[in-house]
């Protein structure tokens, strides 16, 4: 193992120009991947915050007793996607209406009795913000005897769902494409290196080297190239983030909500190493020796 590492490091030095080109290419690829993950992380954060503005209002039938209301409140609190609920009695609803009408509140003066219905306002959990789950809850509520109507931001729910899915699908496609490109770069480099060392490998074989002994330095080399490319890509992503935070943010305040998970910077070299090893493994598997 130590000898294989030595061989790999020696080759990295002797073939430094090929390796440098490979590292830069992988670095650019991983930089793009870093940007995608960075964007994905922030878009996810933004869409996660949208549920805070989304509420479901359950209007209860007139004459619903306290016992039924309490039963419904308990049931809602136990629901896995409900974050919190707020009961608004018909009296409280009237006060709220009167406040919101301000100067036009006189239109309520002729009323003999309160026409408003008691309601429960529901706020959803961020991780429970799934279109199907939300619609499931609403349908369940609508079917209850004591529920008169359920009102919710149908369009907002649809928009959030569409944005989130579109971003995830596009990102997955781009991530797959760039990962394959990085694997291909490592695959090609290892193949070139293998052919350049073919004579040496022949001697190794004649002296009794196993395939594992011959392959290991190439795997280490591929992994190292991916790792170095990841360091480059990670550094690029971090520098760009600092640039956005320092310079661009003053011109585009919306970017102020953006964050860079440090784990991402650390994950790029590790991801690069894995992709490098995959590329090398495929190359060595296809080579006849």
């Amino acid at each position: 193992m130590i000898y294989s590492i030595k061989l790999a490091l020696k080759s990295l030095w002797f073939e430094k120009w090929i390796h440098m080109l490979t590292v830069v290419t992988i670095g650019v690829g991983l930089f793009v991947l870093g940007l995608i993950f960075f964007s994905l992380y922030n878009i996810e954060g933004i869409t996660n915050r949208l549920p805070e503005r989304f509420s479901v209002t359950v209007f209860l039938s007139a004459g619903t007793g306290n016992r039924e209301i309490n039963q419904l409140r308990v049931r809602l609190r136990e629901d896995p996607i409900v974050k919190r609920i707020k009961y608004i009695s018909k009296e409280a609803a009237l006060v709220e209406l009167r406040t919101s009408l301000k100067d036009a509140a006189y239109i309520l003066e002729g009323l003999d009795e309160n026409p408003l219905l008691p309601s429960i306002e529901i706020r959803l959990k961020e991780n429970g913000f799934d279109k199907k789950k939300v619609e499931g809850l609403i349908n369940k509520l609508k079917s209850l005897r004591d529920v008169d109507d359920v009102v919710y931001g149908e369009n907002l729910l649809g928009t959030i769902y569409t944005i989130r899915n579109a971003v995830k699908t596009i990102s997955a496609g781009v991530i797959l494409l760039f990962s394959m490109a990085i694997i291909f770069v490592c695959y090609s480099t290892v193949k070139i290196l293998f052919y350049r060392r073919k004579e040496e490998i022949e001697i190794f074989k004649l002296l009794g080297a196993t395939k594992g002994f011959i392959r290991l330095p190439f795997l280490i080399e591929g992994g190292t190239l991916g790792f170095l490319g990841g360091l480059l890509g990670g550094a690029g992503t971090y520098v760009l983030y600092r640039f956005i935070n320092g310079t661009v943010i003053s011109d585009f305040p919306i970017l102020g909500v953006m964050h860079m998970p440090l784990g991402l910077v650390a994950a790029l070299p590790a991801g690069g190493a894995i992709l490098g090893i995959i590329g090398s493994t495929i190359a060595l598997g296809r080579l006849k020796f």
């Binding site: 000898y3 002797f14 040496e200 022949e202 001697i203 190794f204 074989k205 004649l206 002296l207 009794g208 080297a209 196993t210 395939k211 002994f213």
Partner: protein, 220 residues
């Protein structure tokens, strides 16, 4: 130790070896001779499994080539030291690293490698050339380094293809002396050569080949 049974090797309609049968015992010193194209190098290549026979079977140190799995070939080769005609030294490694490679492949630790390489270099008289690169050595010295690499793993069989082909008389005599010392330790040795002076009046066994046929098996 080595057995050939009806071995035939054909290259593109040209028969390099035809129905060859012979056996070599442990510790024997055997010359293989014949004119160019007689099949001497092919025979050695078949022994260290650089090539496979088209017909017949070869047994080497208890291994049968026709039942040998591909993955077992490296382990068989570790029992065979080969002195190649063109040396096959790694030009970008020192003398020490070239010899040590044979042991690193076998998984030896660095301390043991150091001791064994020094012993092998002592045997071929080149201890002082440890840190030289092959390009800085003469043909005779390169040949000795190849021998050192072949014997460092203590193989049971040593093959040499025209080991004195490019050497002057003194160097050739030196190389042959080394082979005799190795043989004295019990290693089976096969030397392919077209130089009859090497085995004349030695009393050693000589396999004569001509046009792919084993034409004689007698003392030199």
């Amino acid at each position: 130790m080595i057995g050939f049974k009806d071995v035939t090797r054909i290259y593109d309609n040209m028969t390099a070896l035809r129905k060859v049968n012979f056996g070599i015992g442990k510790g024997e010193f055997v010359y293989i001779t014949g004119p160019s194209g007689a099949g001497k190098s092919t025979l050695l290549k078949l022994i260290y499994l650089a090539e496979k026979p088209d017909e017949g079977t070869i047994s080497i140190a208890g291994w049968e080539t026709d039942t040998l799995r591909e993955s077992a070939i490296p382990y068989l080769r570790r029992n065979i030291g080969v002195v190649f005609q063109d040396f096959k030294l790694l030009v970008n490694r020192t003398v020490y690293d070239n010899i040590a490679l044979a042991l690193r492949i076998r998984g030896f630790g660095e301390t043991e490698i150091k001791g064994r390489v020094q012993d092998a270099l002592k045997l071929v008289g080149l201890r002082h050339k440890n840190d030289n690169f092959p390009a800085a050595l003469s043909g005779g010295e390169q040949q000795r380094i190849t021998i050192a690499r072949a014997i460092v793993g203590e193989p049971t069989v040593l093959l040499a293809d025209e080991p004195t082909g490019n050497l002057d008389v003194d160097n050739a005599a030196g190389i042959m002396k080394i082979f005799k010392e190795i043989n004295a330790k019990g290693t089976t040795i096969l030397i392919a050569t077209h130089n009859r002076e090497l085995f004349r009046n030695t009393g050693l066994r000589v396999l004569w080949f001509d046009n792919g046929n084993l034409v004689a098996d007698k003392e030199g």
